[in-house]
Amino acid sequence: MLTADQLNDLRKRALANEHVSQEEFAAAVKQLIADRLSSFEKPTKTSSKKATPVNLDDLI
């Protein structure tokens, strides 16, 4: 997981014209892509609450 601090550091150095290697930029993008792809794999949250069966006769 790429942290906000890591991203800000990258930004700071890029804007200050400090040397940031292509490998570093590429690694950041790949990490972000991996984070995004892992969200596809997470199962959908299901509620632990089950519906309570209702006796239809009680509704009439």
């Binding site: 906000a4 991203l7 990258l10 930004r11 890029a14 804007l15 940031v20 292509q22 490998e23 570093e24 930029f25 590429a26 950041a28 993008v29 790949k30 972000l32 892509i33 995004r36 792809l37």
Partner: protein, 298 residues
């Protein structure tokens, strides 16, 4: 005061919305002081990232290099400004949109690719000579445009443009079917000899917790292009007429345009009896150059 030598879609849109707004932003050349609009900053940065990535990938084929150059271009284009905390389009979310594009449309398998000329036709520009003369220099007026790709899809040529938005509305696709900007791009490419049949618009919605994408394919038959040209000439004639009379109607007062897209940048001037007193306090003297694609001193 200066009449534009080049008319672009955004200049024309400004005039259509309100000639007085056009007077302030294009004729006088004013932009509000302070940080640029976050929507503009995020949209430009996203476009810069994709442009750098595509140019590199579709000419050299090196994925790692392309995605790196894209991120670098995006960060530099976004600049040092941080938006207000309640704004969505932060640098982090703009990068998330760039990443979402790479996930949804990896360049190796993207169904839309730039056509190839000397290199990939990414960031394609055109200029058309209009049958009108500049009111002070006498040179022909130009209509110019620039779009993201002259793209190939299913063996045909299309204009391709990326658009960022907040959320993708119910009629997001339909909005492109009549959009004058797109018709102008198709006309421009056709007049340069490219057999373009329509446009593909790829939308990216940048939200706080997710990004969504959608694509619209829209066609432009000849009758629609002819209609667009008639309207363009009509608008240019009205611009020249306003210049000749030095009268710029406050159209926003009639159509609610002063608050349609947030508060108009020139609200403070139009609500003042003597607007010239407020210019130097609230505005920088700059105007957009549609050919150079940058702000210049006015």
């Amino acid at each position: 005061m200066e009449f534009p030598r080049v008319i672009s879609s955004s200049i024309r849109e400004s005039f259509s919305r309100c000639p007085q707004k056009f007077y302030w932003d294009t004729i006088v050349g004013l932009v509000p002081k302070g940080a640029p609009s976050v929507h503009l900053a995020a949209g430009s940065a996203y476009a810069a990232g994709l442009e750098a990535m595509r140019k590199s990938y579709y000419s050299e084929g090196d994925y790692d290099k392309a995605i790196a150059l894209g991120l670098q271009a995006l960060i530099i284009a976004y600049g040092p400004h941080d938006p207000e905390p309640w704004e969505t389009k932060t640098l982090e979310r703009t990068i998330a949109a760039y990443v979402e594009h790479l996930v949804q449309y990896p360049p190796a398998t993207d169904h839309i690719k730039p056509s190839q000329g000397i290199g990939p036709r990414v960031e394609f520009s055109f200029a058309l000579e209009l049958p009108y003369k500049h009111p002070t220099t006498g040179e022909p007026l130009l209509f110019a445009g620039r779009f993201d790709q002259l793209a190939e899809f299913n063996g045909a040529l299309f204009i391709f443009d990326d658009k960022t938005t907040g959320s993708i509305s119910k009629y997001w696709r339909q909005q492109w079917d009549l959009r004058s900007q797109i018709t102008g791009y198709v006309c421009g490419a056709q007049e340069l000899g490219y057999n373009v049949i329509g446009a593909i618009i790829r939308g990216m919605s940048i939200l706080k917790t997710k990004c969504d994408t959608q694509e619209a394919i829209t066609h432009r038959p000849q009758w629609m292009i002819d209609r667009w040209k008639t309207r363009l000439y009509y608008d240019v004639e009205r611009m020249l007429d306003c210049w000749a009379k030095n009268y710029w109607p406050h159209q926003g007062e009639e159509n609610g345009g002063c608050t349609t897209y947030g508060l108009c940048n020139f609200y403070a001037l139009c609500t003042a009896q003597q607007p010239e007193h407020y210019i130097d306090v609230g505005y920088d003297r700059m105007r957009w150059d549609p050919i150079e694609r940058e702000m210049k001193d006015s």
